[in-house]
């Protein structure tokens, strides 16, 4: 496993991870003294404490400028991103290739289309192209705590837990509507959510797949037909799963309440098949049904075909 630590020396100083004997520590200390001296002289305080980790904007004051926080791409290698680009991207391109593009009825903008039942309009799939390969875009981690109804401070534990897991401060979600049976009022803080992109997303997925999922008890894998129809996959975790994360395992007692949470993988795939193929490339296990000669669906002709070994399998 290779979880890279950001190489900015000032940040490492705050985390206390650098050994005091290293020359970087002394250099960083001098650098920090300089910067704190100038900061104290100017008297800069960031107003929004809640989002302090992402709030340092670059500003010009005198001759000195403040640095923006580290962007999504760091100089270290992201293991799963490398894996995607080198190992599985081309295979996904080949496997999800469709030679003929089924053009559906174009719905004009502004025209309201109502479907029967709870169905909703889905985005139209595009023709296969080398730039339109299914890729993982973001991961949404969301946690709703029922205990927050009785006291909003119960939510703090969930917020802290998700921050520890993901490394980003979650935003708090307030109830949009009240539900009388659950004593929920509109505007109550009831949950928290964080969106992960880029390196942080791949790191989180790495942790999930290597550390957490193997340790989960009697978890057979994601359902075979999982997916929301538009290329996103969601999964939920019980409260016991929270203790399997390395950040929480180490100081388990500091969290008053263990809570469950759910994760949504947003991909650029258009079908469930492509989304599942993509996630399985990241070692996300899916359940397998036992019938070997399963009926396969042909998306271009819509008829059941006799089974053939057209899907490439590779190491």
């Amino acid at each position: 496993m290779s979880f890279r630590i950001r190489s900015l020396p000032v940040r490492a100083l705050d985390l206390g991870l650098l050994p005091k004997t290293s020359p970087i520590y002394h250099a960083a200390q001098q650098f920090r003294e300089k910067s704190t001296a100038t900061a104290a002289a100017i008297g800069h305080h960031s107003n929004d404490l809640r989002k302090k980790q992402n709030s340092n904007n670059s500003e010009v004051s005198g001759g000195n400028t403040t640095l923006a926080q580290a962007p999504i791409y760091t100089t270290g290698l992201s293991r799963l991103r490398e894996h995607y680009t080198t190992s599985i991207q081309e295979d996904i391109m080949i496997t999800s290739y469709r030679h003929h593009y089924k053009k559906k009825k174009q719905i004009l903008e502004g025209v309201k289309v109502e479907l029967k039942g709870n169905k909703h309009l889905k985005p139209l799939p595009r023709a296969s192209s080398p730039t339109d390969i299914p890729e993982l875009v973001k991961i949404d981690v969301h946690c709703m705590m029922k205990e927050a109804i009785t006291s909003k401070y119960n939510l703090l534990s969930g917020v802290m837990a998700i921050q520890s897991i993901t490394g980003e401060t979650p935003e708090i979600i307030f109830a949009k509507k009240g539900v009388h049976n659950w004593k929920l009022r509109k505007g109550m803080p009831i949950g928290c959510r964080v969106t992960l992109k880029g390196d942080k997303m791949y790191q989180f997925l790495d942790k999930l797949v290597e550390v957490v999922l193997p340790k989960m008890k009697e978890w057979p894998g994601l359902p075979e037909g999982s997916g929301d129809g538009t290329g996103n996959i969601g999964m939920g975790f019980p409260p016991s799963a929270l203790s399997l994360f390395p950040e929480i395992e180490n100081n388990f007692d500091m969290y008053p309440r263990m809570t469950g949470f759910d994760i949504t993988f947003n991909t650029t795939a258009f079908t469930n098949m492509d989304a599942r193929l993509l996630m399985s490339g990241f070692n996300m296990p899916f359940q397998k049904s036992n019938n070997a000669g399963a009926v396969r669906k042909d998306p271009s002709s819509g008829m059941a075909k006799k089974p053939d070994n057209s899907a490439p399998s590779d190491s």
């Binding site: 599985i88 991207q89 030679h99 296969s128 006291s151 917020v159 520890s164 399985s280 070692n283």
Partner: protein, 149 residues
């Protein structure tokens, strides 16, 4: 959560609780005498902001040059990658067109997609060092490993 601030605060709290000191009321965040919520609230919302990193002009130019160089490297890598993908895609498209012209039945078979096609579970993501056993040739492909090591 292992910042020096959090660690010292927690130590203080645990010592107080061990010593049997009465917990001071602090706006209701400590539920049933549980001071951890207090601590979490402090860490999340009341923690002092880090001083911003200030750079002199020459340091800033240095930093910007490095950033631009890294962006350039990434851009070149991405361009190589997209060119490679475009080439492969074009070859595949030509092959499919040729197959369609050659045999309609074979072409239909080639366009059939297995609905539950996934990468094999034995697929190994990149690691710094190779495993002890690189590939098990004796184990049949259908058997799935129970858990990863």
């Amino acid at each position: 959560m292992s910042s020096p601030f959090a660690r010292s605060a927690l130590k203080a709290n645990t010592l107080m609780r061990a010593g049997g000191a009465p917990m001071k009321k602090s706006g209701g965040t400590s539920l049933n005498g549980d001071a951890r919520n207090d601590l979490i609230k402090k860490v999340l919302f009341d923690a002092p902001a880090r001083p911003p990193v200030r750079l002199s002009p020459e340091e800033m130019t240095r930093h910007e040059t490095i950033e631009r160089a890294w962006k350039l490297v990434r851009q070149q890598q991405k361009q190589e990658q997209t060119e490679g993908l475009a080439r492969k895609f074009e070859m595949m498209r030509k092959a499919n067109a040729e197959l369609e012209a050659t045999s309609a039945q074979l072409f239909k078979h080639s366009q059939t997609k297995e609905r539950h096609a996934v990468f094999p579970r034995q697929l190994r993501t990149l690691t710094d060092t190779p495993p002890k056993q690189i590939w098990n040739y004796r184990q049949p492909a259908a058997a799935t490993p129970a858990t990863k090591a």
